[in-house]
Subunit: 352 residues, 2 copies
């Protein structure tokens, strides 16, 4: 069976010059995929022609006359630009014409438009953003929330844990993924009240065999790969993720400048280029591009805004794999099973 993914071709820092080549490359590598390219038809067509892919049988175009920029307010994204490529791409998911959507646009707008168009899944109070990070075990650590919810109650973090667990089970084929609760120490007495209450909820699920709760984890456990999933509120997650990204750029800058310092170090780099390339590959954030917006009535994957075509293709792949592994159905089942009492749907106090 073919899996259809809608692509917001105009989103991100580079728009069609990145999204179209990525789409072509992906569709060529994946015979089971069909991609719907959403955006300005003439621009998309020209870009496809440039890559001699304008007659590809598994690439179609849906025209959208507007696009959401990085500076657009949520008001503009939601109420004014009703024919934006982002919104039209998500509407295709709502109308069951696509099984997932990918966008590199503004995160806050993507979350707001996705919530508005798709609505939140029954039993979920607040959708969350989940991404993956590399770890020392050469596997991925899934972390959420990364910024959709800056103020969280225990039941929100509890839901994040459930959603993360379902995602990892479906994507990685791990039957009972381990869940860590991000905290300032591993002992039960550590942390603030929200975290302590969350631990109790997760522990109760653990004891009745519903979730595999490891306990508290600390910041360094993300990279140790202590647990498959790290749960935190969106404030902590967002700050931590950006600090990690900043650190990686800083580190890369230092490595580059030192190997370029003089002819001898440059020779060392030349001879050791296999190592440098392997290092770059293992630490390449491209492989980890594609954050999942979890808890919506449809699959939406957010690519990094500055992604190149190689990196964007990974985001498309994540959308494809999520659809193929039926993440949505698993989420619905698990949430219906585990969510003891569902508080009335509420609006988030704030989103990034």
């Amino acid at each position: 069976m073919t899996i259809k993914i809608s692509i917001d071709c105009m989103g991100g820092d580079h728009g069609p010059s990145v999204t179209i080549p990525a789409a072509i490359s992906f569709v060529n590598s994946e015979p089971g995929a069909e991609l719907i390219l959403v955006g300005m038809e003439d621009v998309i067509r020209a870009e496809l022609k440039k890559h001699k892919a304008d007659a590809h049988p598994r690439l179609s175009i849906v025209h959208a006359s507007e696009q959401i920029t990085m500076d657009d307010t949520l008001e503009v994204a939601l109420r004014r630009k009703k024919d934006s490529s982002m919104r039209v791409a998500i509407e295709l998911v709502k109308d069951a014409k696509a099984q997932a959507s990918v966008s590199a646009g503004n995160t806050a707008a993507l979350m707001a438009v996705s919530r508005y168009v798709l609505k939140t899944m029954a039993g979920v109070d607040r959708p969350a953003i989940c991404s993956i990070l590399p770890n020392q075990k050469d596997g991925p650590t899934y972390m959420l929330d990364l910024g959709a919810n800056v103020d969280c109650e225990p039941h929100h973090l509890h839901q994040f844990a459930i959603m993360g667990s379902v995602l990892v089970a479906a994507m990685e084929g791990i039957a009972r993924p381990t869940i860590g609760l991000l905290n300032v120490g591993t002992e039960d007495i550590k942390g603030n009240d929200v975290v302590k209450q969350t631990a109790k909820l997760l522990q109760a699920d653990h004891e009745r065999g519903a979730l595999n709760f490891f306990g508290n984890v600390e910041g360094n456990d993300i990279f140790k790969g202590t647990t498959d999933i790290v749960v935190c509120d969106g404030f902590v997650g967002n700050v931590t993720l950006k600090a990690i990204e900043g650190m990686a750029r800083f580190f890369k800058g230092v490595v580059f400048s030192e190997f370029k310092r003089n002819p001898l170090t440059m020779l060392g780099a030349l001879i050791g280029r296999g190592a440098l390339r392997a290092i770059a590959k293992r630490l390449n954030p491209s492989r980890y591009n594609g954050a999942s917006l979890l808890g919506l009535r449809g699959l939406v994957i957010k690519s990094h805004g500055g992604a190149d075509a190689y990196s964007y293709e990974w985001a498309i792949r994540r959308a494809f794999e999520a659809a193929k592994n039926d993440v949505q159905a698993h989420l619905s089942t698990m949430i219906a099973e585990l969510m003891p009492r569902v508080p009335a749907q509420e609006e988030p106090s704030s989103t990034i």
Copy 2:
């Protein structure tokens, strides 16, 4: 004038085998310093003898019969082990026999014992932990709180900003250090209520020329060096710092394993060893060892528990510089000036 520093020789993962060589090396490099070595007298004396420094005129010993371990509860640290090397070292500061104290012991115990013995500075509700991180401008970014206060109100973060500002001014000789408030975005509307209220307090100080408030900063700004100081609550600070440390270890592990992979990469590393050494030096966390416990009636510096002698010596240096630059007096003045209304002294809801 000689500056006296008390050293908790028994603290940390390695105790006297690290603290004593570091003390000897520091006192030899700094003619204006006198160090008081606190701990088991016979152990200290034996270690000094080993390094032929048992007759050093600027090294003295104060015996303490107990030591606080990493596993000791706060109850034990505070009520039971009244003759611990940590406590005796801090009491020397209280009794004005030393101008600062250094310990590599358990952070929570060190903060609790310091608060108990020294008391909190007038006008300060809660002491905070401030450390430095390297940035792309090759300067330090000061960050606080790193874990003393997991739940913070706006006036706490406000006080952290004031204390950080005074510390940077005194230590780095920067007249008006810039203050960034850690948030999920730079716009005023971003973040949770605590952060938004804090921004208002800092903005008011900025407008009357009392503080140099830059505005909101994000996680990556820590490494960009966007501001001299980054202010956050202890939960966010602790998680972020540990994530950064974890990432650095992960990165280092990848670099090492790839350069050791085969004879060619090893040759590259050999020829490019100047670069590798420079990288290691620039990214060496040792240079940044020594976190300040700010807001107490006395200077206390916390070394990393796993510090080696080279790294521990940096922590002693920070204590020395802080005392030399009269950080305490500057703190008192600035806090008296800027603290508009002081809420009743309260106990922290939790400490790490």
